[in-house]
Point group: C2
Chain length 213, copies 2
DNA sequence: ATTATTAAGTGTAATTTTAACACTTGTAAA
DNA sequence: TTTACAAGTGTTAAAATTACACTTAATAAT
C-alpha cells in the first residue's frame, strides 16, 4: 500500500556551490555569469535544481561536474536558505554546498559555456539573491575546518610543501603564522608524513614534500 | 515581468525538530507518536511540512508552537536530509532543527493530542526514517555549542546555580567535570553574572544564583 | 674551486591555559 | 550548642602556546 501526503506546498529545491580554490597565491572563489532569467548576466554561485530522483549531494556533484568535468570534488553541505522571496522568479529554497578544489595539479578545464571565473576571496563582486551570505557562511566554516580538521582542506595537490600548507592556512585564516610554530603544530597533529622527495622549484636547497596521512 | 522556472521536480519539504530539554536530572529529548501514515504510531521527531509562504525557521517555530504552545523556543538549523527513499510515502527532503527548551520554570503544557513524551537522551527508542541520524548530529552540535558558546544553551531557567550549569554540561558532554575548575572556567569566560540572590532549596548554606549576560 | 645567494629548516625560553587535588564556610535542623 | 550538608574556594604541576633568529643545503656566479 502506498501513501501520499496531501499537499499543494511542493516547491523547487536548488543547490548552490561555494567553490573554493587555492593556487599558492591566495584563496579563490569560482563564480559564474548567470545564464537564466531573472538576473541573467549577473555574477552568481554555480547552482542547479534538485531532481526528483537524486540526493542533494548528488545534485551538487552533478552541478560541479557540469562546470568542471571533475567527478570527485570534496563537498560539504551547509545551510538551507529559505526566505520566501529570495528568488524573485519563484518560491525556491536553496541548500548551500562548500566545494574544495585544488586548482593546480589536476588536468581539467572550466566548461566555457558558463563564463566562469576565479576571483580572489577578498575581492569578488556582489552576487545575486542571498549568495553573498552563503559565501560568508562557507568561509566561516572553512576557517573552522582549518583549525580542527586540516586534512579535510582538499585544496592542495597530493604532495605539498610546508610553505604551501602554511600559505593556505594564512589565506583561510587571514593572518600571518610563524614558520617554526606552524611546522611544530602540524607535526604534533600527526596528520602529514614527510616524503623523501623534495620540491626544487622554489629554492636552491629545496623543500620537503608532504602528504596527508 | 515575472519569470518562472520550468520544472517537474517540485517536492515536499519537511522540517523535523530535535527538541532537547533539561530538568536538572539529565538531558531529555521530546518525541511524538506519529499520527499519519506511513509508520503511524511509531516514535518520531516532531515535524511538519514547509508551507509555500513561510521560511524554514518559521515552519519549525509553527510546528513547535503547535506542540508546546510556546512562541519563542530557541532554534538552530542543522542539515537537510535528502535520501531519495527516506520517506517511503513520497519524495521529501527534511531540514532538521535543534530546539532547546527549559523544562522547569515555564508555564506550559504539551498538547495532549500529540502523545508526546520526554525520554532521557541515552535511552530513547528507535525512530522512524532517518530521525536517529538527525538526533546524533544534533547532539554533536550541542556538544560543540557547550564548548564554544555556552550562553546559547537555552536549557536552563533564567536564574540558575553553578551546580545546575555544571550538571547540564556534564549531561551534554557525558563526562564528570571538576567543580572548582568548572567555576573558574565559567568565570573567566565572562558569560554569567552572579546575583545577590541565593537558592536555598538545595542546601542549608544556599547557593548563589547566576544569570547569563 | 671558491664565494655569494637564497629560501628551508630548526630549538629554547616565557607565558598562558588546563588539570588535579581537599579543606573551610554558612546555615538550618536537631 | 552541636551536627550535618552542600557550597565555595586556591595552589601546584603539566601541557600548550607564543615569541623570537641563526644555521644549512644547494645552486649560481666569479
Amino acid at each position: 500500500m502506498i501513501y501520499k501526503y496531501d499537499s499543494e506546498d511542493k516547491l523547487i529545491v536548488a543547490v548552490d556551490c561555494i567553490i573554493f580554490g587555492f593556487d599558492n597565491e591566495g584563496l579563490k572563489i569560482l563564480l559564474v555569469k548567470r545564464a537564466i532569467k531573472p538576473e541573467i548576466g549577473k555574477w552568481s554561485l554555480m547552482g542547479g535544481f534538485l531532481k526528483k530522483d537524486e540526493t542533494l549531494t548528488a545534485s551538487a556533484k552533478r552541478v560541479l561536474k557540469t562546470l568542471t568535468g571533475l567527478e570527485n570534488i570534496y563537498l560539504e553541505q551547509l545551510e538551507a536558505y529559505s526566505e520566501v522571496n529570495r528568488d524573485p522568479a519563484e518560491r525556491t529554497i536553496s541548500v548551500a554546498f562548500s566545494a574544495l578544489l585544488n586548482m593546480v595539479d589536476q588536468k581539467w578545464e572550466l566548461e566555457k559555456s558558463f563564463e566562469a571565473k576565479w576571483f580572489p576571496i577578498n575581492a569578488f563582486p556582489v552576487l545575486i539573491f542571498d549568495h553573498n551570505m552563503m559565501v560568508e557562511r562557507a568561509l566561516k566554516r572553512l576557517r573552522y575546518k582549518a583549525q580542527t580538521q586540516p586534512q579535510e582542506l582538499k585544496l592542495l595537490p597530493k604532495k605539498f610543501t610546508m610553505l604551501q600548507l602554511r600559505t593556505l592556512f594564512e589565506a583561510i585564516l587571514d593572518t600571518k603564522l610563524d614558520k617554526r610554530n606552524f611546522t611544530t603544530k602540524i607535526n604534533t597533529m600527526n596528520i602529514v608524513k614527510r616524503l623523501d622527495e623534495k620540491d626544487m622549484s622554489s629554492s636552491k636547497k629545496g623543500s620537503y614534500l608532504y602528504e596527508f596521512l
